[in-house]
Amino acid sequence: MFTNQSNNTFNHGIHPPENKEETNKLPIRQFPFSPVIILPTAQHLGKPSEIIIREGQEVARGQILANATGYMSVPLHSPVSGRIRKITNVPTISGKMVPGIIIEPFAASGQEVMEGNPVDVNHATPEEILKAIQDAGIVGLGGAAFPTHVKLKVPEGKVCEDLLINGIECEPFLTTDHRVMLEQAEDIFMGIRYLLRATQAKQVIIGIEANKQDAADYLTGLIPEDLPLKVKVVPVKYPQGAEKMLITSILGKEIPSGGLPIDVKVVVVNVATTAEIGRLLPHGRGIQERVITITGPGVSKKGNYRIAIGTPLRFVLEQVGVEDTVSEVYMGGPMMGVAVSNLDISIVKGTSGIVVFTEREAKKDPKVYPCIKCGACVDACPISLNPSKLGILAKYEEYDKMAEQYNLLDCFECGSCSYVCPSHIPLVQYFRLSKTIVRKRIAS
């Protein structure tokens, strides 16, 4: 197995401008409730949840609105106390219309939350904890929105030795994980206790990039004595926050192509997800809000906000003082986030940030030149693919060849290749398209 433990990082990767200094000193603030809350039922990877309330019904904050529909699904809780105005198709970031719920919060809707059954960390079995995590509606808050209980389930015959808490946050502009680490240390430690019990891991490492040294020092100083916990600082590099890269950086192990972290006896959980587990499970609450960074040159009130899930994007932009001249809005960060085509979508569980660029910064559709075979993308690709060759094959629609001979499906769309390409070839867009087509062909 290939190891490079000596330099504490992975091979290749890029160094985009971080742009975090404007928000990383700003404490997390509560965002107001919007006059309407839009909740799609497909906020996580897997099956959408099934709506169990009816139009006109009054719901309490924290009440379950939609049940999980199987193992790869989580329930949906009401983020506000209010009245169900409509159950209808609502737009999502993917552009699809999915069944959803529109709630009108009561003017007097407060912060109190309806609670369920608390889970005692010292006595619950791993299965009980996983069930509680699913019941709390928790998904990966880093952006992928993968149901956390599925990720934590150690398959039969495998063991988890190391539990990695991902506090890397390598995406430019975003500072949510940074602030969570500085402000919710107790929640993180409580979350780790639950995770340790659920996975039976032997040790825990919190991975933090060197640009968040203050968070690393702060957490190191607070580690409870009974936790087998270490904080490890790694050099700044994009895309270190990707699971595969993080494991290589911290443990020096490499996940085989097509494999999962558990194949090298590791489970990785995002630090915000950990904090949310530690915050919700002792009270038996469901997830109704999350921390997001709202930043970018187009925003006048930049900051880190705790915001109700389902808050419409249009309301968010109004509140943070975005002018009408906006030309590009990203959900997530500028590297792996998605450009928004519709301001009527809402904040979902997987939204980690909103970045707004004005017309001045937005790139004016740069001219695409042919590939000059400079190899910059090959040097940038963190998983050592050959983006140059893949790009050429994509152009000629040789999708099967890309998948079979050039490991297209290992690409996790970090965008490093497009970022460095001097010819402005939209490589990662080609790969996203090719992956969709290949997956469709495999499925049929």
Binding site: S94, V338, S341, D365, Q429, L433, I437
Partner: protein, 288 residues
């Protein structure tokens, strides 16, 4: 002397291999009907798959074995089909001509864009970026993937970036059906003149906000139509083509012209009460 050895050795080897080939040729001979080759030559070699077979060769095999009739090939000319039928001594077999129909009429002059998309200029790629910039999620994105994929030049993008199908050239091969990421094309018998040119599952003003020619699910067509012909399902009229559908009545009161009459010569005809669209330029958000 040595040259002789080489000559004999290679000559012997050649002879041996030749004998082997002859034996193999006789022993492993598979009889194939010679008519398959001849029929294949008479077919158009388009390999389009409209007949339901994965290419002209396999269609020829099926023809010779009598599984299908020549009329199934929608690409070849009438006289070629007659020739094949005569050659094989079978009936021509009548297949009604089928063509690709598009269930959207939301061109740039009537449907808004919420966002400008820049990137790979294909429908497939733009559909992956938040579903494309179009206001209507179900609507045609207008980058012309269907035009590119059509082997018969039957699809042309019109001035409003909506594909128009030339029914004479269309062979119903179905390539456009697969190419469209929004699934707007379908292959329909040409006699299906009554057609719903909208796929939006929204209703009322939600539709009109995005597109002036979308179906608002008012239900007038279903009310006017003969019994059982049209049923409203998921905010869209669904035409039951097993009923007698040769009537223009349902289109007449449609307020937006979402349900149309497909005329061979005049193209899609809207009803009398349909809103008349005079705008030639692009429809902007919020504009009337």
């Amino acid at each position: 002397m040595s040259i002789l050895t080489a000559f004999l050795a290679l000559g012997g080897l050649t002879l041996l291999l030749a004998v082997l080939l002859i034996v193999a040729n006789k022993k492993f001979y598979v009889y194939e009907d010679p008519r398959i080759d001849q029929v294949e030559d008479m077919l158009p070699h388009a390999n389009c798959g409209a007949c339901g077979f994965p290419g002209c060769r396999l269609f020829a095999e099926a023809l010779v074995s009598g599984d299908v009739l020549p009329g199934k090939c929608s690409v070849s000319a009438e006289q070629d089909r007659v020739e094949i039928a005569d050659f094989l001594g079978v009936n021509l077999g009548s297949e009604e001509k089928r063509v690709a129909r598009l269930a959207c009429n939301g061109g740039t002059n009537v449907a808004i864009n919420r966002a400008n998309y820049t990137g790979i200029p294909t429908c497939q790629a733009s559909a992956l970026v938040s579903g494309g910039g179009k206001g209507c999620f179900w609507g045609c994105l207008g980058y012309g993937d269907c035009q590119v994929v059509c082997d018969f030049d039957a699809i042309q993008m019109n001035q409003f970036s909506i594909p128009e199908v030339d029914v004479d050239k269309c062979t119903a091969c179905g390539d456009c059906v697969e190419a469209c990421p929004k699934g707007l094309f379908s292959i329909e018998p040409i006699s299906h003149r009554l057609w719903v040119a909208c796929k939006s599952l929204e209703k009322g003003d939600d539709v009109l906000d995005d597109c002036e020619v979308g179906c608002t699910a008012c239900g007038k067509c279903a009310m006017d139509a003969p019994a059982n012909l049209i049923e409203m399902v998921n905010n869209l009229p669904v035409i039951n083509y097993s009923e007698n559908h040769n009537t223009r009545i349902p289109i007449e009161r449609c307020p937006t012209g979402a349900i149309v009459w497909l005329d061979d010569k005049l193209g899609a005809q809207k009803g009398k009460e349909a809103k008349i669209i005079v705008r030639k330029g692009q429809k902007m958000m919020g504009g009337s």
